[in-house]
Symmetry: C2
Subunit: 105 residues, 2 copies
């Protein structure tokens, strides 16, 4: 998976487990598309400090996923629902895939 | 929701964030259906210790859900997939509900 997509998903699922400070800087850098230097100046911390914080947040978010696998679970379900959407005209397929999802949940 | 069902779901989603010690005692009491006294004897801690640990684990699991809402999200999706399963013969319904789920995910 592309790094940015992965970061977005992980943040979307587990971001609330970061501190307000971490979240705010992470959002500015990863989603706000500001450079490390810009965020460093804005938040009045060092460029290295921003760099370390982003690295640490990525690690925290990845560790949650390594334990809970909830992003993975959602992606599997999403794929199956897309398949249902595509085969909506085939009731047997729809039932079969629905059952697969319900077993997963 | 029934207390036991709620505990099962929360443990299923966030249980891996408990320590091995917490998990083991929580499983014995909540899912193994052993009494506090039995678990206390088996684990060589006080009955009160078991009681406090269960209370604390419930609080930890509830706090994760309060922040992440992932159990809630899953339950909404589950309900919609069950609806798809029931209306599998109606392609328009299947498409409409699939789209709802995909917006949710």
């Amino acid at each position: 998976m592309e790094k940015f997509v992965e970061q977005t998903l992980l943040f979307d699922f587990y971001g609330e487990l970061l501190t307000e400070h971490q979240k705010s800087i992470y959002e500015d850098v990863v989603f706000g598309d500001l450079s490390y230097s810009e965020v460093a100046e804005e938040k009045n911390i060092s460029r290295q400090g921003v760099h370390d914080l982003i690295k640490r947040c990525n690690k925290i978010l990845e560790d949650y996923e390594a334990k809970l696998h909830l992003v993975k679970k959602f992606l599997i379900i999403k794929e199956k629902v897309e398949k249902i959407r595509r085969t909506a005209d085939d009731p047997e397929q729809v039932k079969r895939i629905s059952d697969e999802i319900l077993e997963e949940l």
